[in-house]
Symmetry: C2
Subunit: 133 residues, 2 copies
């Protein structure tokens, strides 16, 4: 059996603050947890994983709706194989585009650090290089 955690511990381990956890619960993106006699929330290690996942996704620009759609793949929804493939493929496409944009950005930023390290004050054509015509 897995060790049970109070909300504060979940918050610490998943790096999401307490009120956000309660907010996610209200939004239905986190399931209603078990409670102690006195009404305190009880979590376990799976909740840490799920919440960390949500947190990372948010940091990558996914909306809560998109995250719900990703999580629905986990939550044993009654999807057909075709539906799963469609949802998944569309997310994969989105992810690829994000990666490519970030890689461009990385290249430019590293070049700037490089140039700057040599004492140059770069002219910073960052926008041009990233997304210029």
């Amino acid at each position: 059996m897995t060790k049970s955690l109070p909300i504060g511990e979940l918050a610490r381990q998943s790096d999401v603050n307490i009120e956000t956890i309660r907010f996610y619960e209200k939004q239905g993106i986190l399931p209603n947890p078990a409670r102690t006699e006195s009404g305190r929330r009880i979590y376990d290690q799976d909740d840490v994983k799920r919440l960390s996942f949500i947190h990372r996704c948010r940091g990558l620009g996914f909306s809560l709706k998109e995250i719900e759609s990703l999580l629905s793949l986990v939550d044993a929804g009654d999807y057909t194989c075709k539906e799963v493939r469609e949802i998944t493929a569309s997310h994969a496409q989105d992810v690829k585009q994000k990666i490519s944009a970030l890689q461009k950005m990385e290249t430019v930023l590293e070049a700037m650090v490089e140039r700057c390290g040599k004492g140059d004050v770069p002219e910073c054509p960052i926008i041009e290089e990233l997304f210029g015509s």
Copy 2:
């Protein structure tokens, strides 16, 4: 000289809606544009680039504050070389982490599409695979 654009055209070209453009202006992340006699905003191709950049960054999970910090590198702020290097390096670090998280996600998603394509209904251990212990 560059052709001048009304706000609607800027919105179309940068894929950002009109009220968001005005919102960004109020927040100071877009400079106050020139105006016509009658008070209508006038933009040019540089505004399209800047705004597209902002839009993409938002989609990648950067906050407006972070984007301002990135843009400050462009806006000929009076930074020392050391400051530029620090700001840039920190963003580069962040970008690398985002890329790595997205690559993990891509791998898992593609594997799911693959499995699904073969007629399997996958058991979708997506969270486990992505961010599991």
